[in-house]
Subunit: 220 residues, 2 copies
């Protein structure tokens, strides 16, 4: 699995973003991409290799009606990335599993209607109808984005205040960092994850955790 | 306003990401950042300038109890970025306005309880309590992320199908691209926005729009 750091490095390149935009439309093959972007095939191949290695895209071979089979690239369906930056909150979130529609509709029953509309889409040939469905879904996206940003802003407030409280404790900088990550974790967190987030070696992280436990600041 | 392209360029740099991570924690000044990252002040200054110009962070001057006032940098509160990549969908979304809590709680009444908890936080000194609130908010974030991904996946289905329908029409590639952007826009879209999305000059976009209108494929 690619790290969020590597991913932002990958996306920091304009050509790679253009390739991803083309592949988000539909699967394509190397010479097709090279010609659409007017960039040499060798360079495109290098980018496709980097993107494939990071599992953002995946190659597959497709038989042709004429000539030899051709290698296509497509965006990995299970791959989703989200990046959030706001005071108190800097996070890159990568989801690489599928979303369970049933449990979502249980939590948000109002999506049932949207789902029905989308299910009927195979039978629709009228362009205008697609526009309507896209706008309905778009409205829902805006609402969800705002809701997510709202919860994020609550979380940011809690994190900022929590940092102040921790700052006032008689701890060294490493202990403060570890305690902060531990307290503000949004779910269960492993020693390895704390070590990555705090940029402290794992052995040292364990030592700090034991120290915090000794002081009665946490239960392990 | 910074474009999503520029922003990914900005975030593609590891040092800039480390600076943002530090500033997401709390406002800091140049020498402080340089010393925390063990990077020369000149280089840090260059990155801070780029980040400030893009409005991702903003500088402000703060009086010191001793000595001359000091220039601090903080993450722009109104700034949020979200990036989504999935088949049928490649989008960078930048929000630069504040979220209206009232309208969100109207739509998602269940957030009222979370808000109350966060409002009481000023009075809380117990670290464990922060952990509980973070986990509750984290659970809600996970649900919202999944819900958003679900709606995105519906949208992606509609977009892919819509592209197939448009592909079957007797149109040239530019006309197809413009028609697709127009139909799949999640809300109202301006000529300028279509021109940027399709990478076609504005004058040419207008010509294509008129051509599509003539063919009865859209109403303007």
């Amino acid at each position: 699995m690619v790290s969020s750091e590597q991913l932002l490095d990958i996306l920091g390149n304009e050509t790679r973003r253009m390739i991803l935009e083309l592949l988000a439309e539909k699967p394509r093959y190397t010479t097709e991409i090279a010609s659409l972007l007017s960039i040499g095939q060798k360079a495109i191949n290098d980018h496709l290799r980097i993107l494939s290695e990071s599992k953002v895209i995946e190659p597959y071979v497709q038989k042709q009606t004429r000539g030899s089979p051709r290698k296509y690239f497509k965006v990995n369906e299970k791959f989703r990335l989200e990046f959030t930056l706001t005071p108190g909150y800097f996070e890159v979130y990568i989801l690489d599993s599928e979303v369970d529609a049933k449990s979502i509709i249980e939590r948000f029953p109002e999506f049932g209607e949207l789902q029905k509309q989308v299910e009927q889409i195979e039978t629709i040939r009228k362009i205008g109808k697609y526009g309507q469905i896209c706008r309905d879904l778009g409205d829902e996206m805006v609402r969800l984005r705002k809701a997510k940003m709202y919860v994020e802003s609550l979380l940011a407030k809690v994190r900022i205040k929590c940092m102040k409280v921790i700052d006032s404790l008689n701890l060294n900088p490493e202990e403060k960092r570890v305690l902060f990550e531990l307290v503000t974790a949004e779910g269960n967190i492993t020693v390895e994850e704390i070590s990555v987030k705090c940029k402290i070696p794992e052995q040292e992280t364990i030592r700090v955790l034991n120290e915090l436990k000794k002081r009665g600041l946490l239960r392990l």
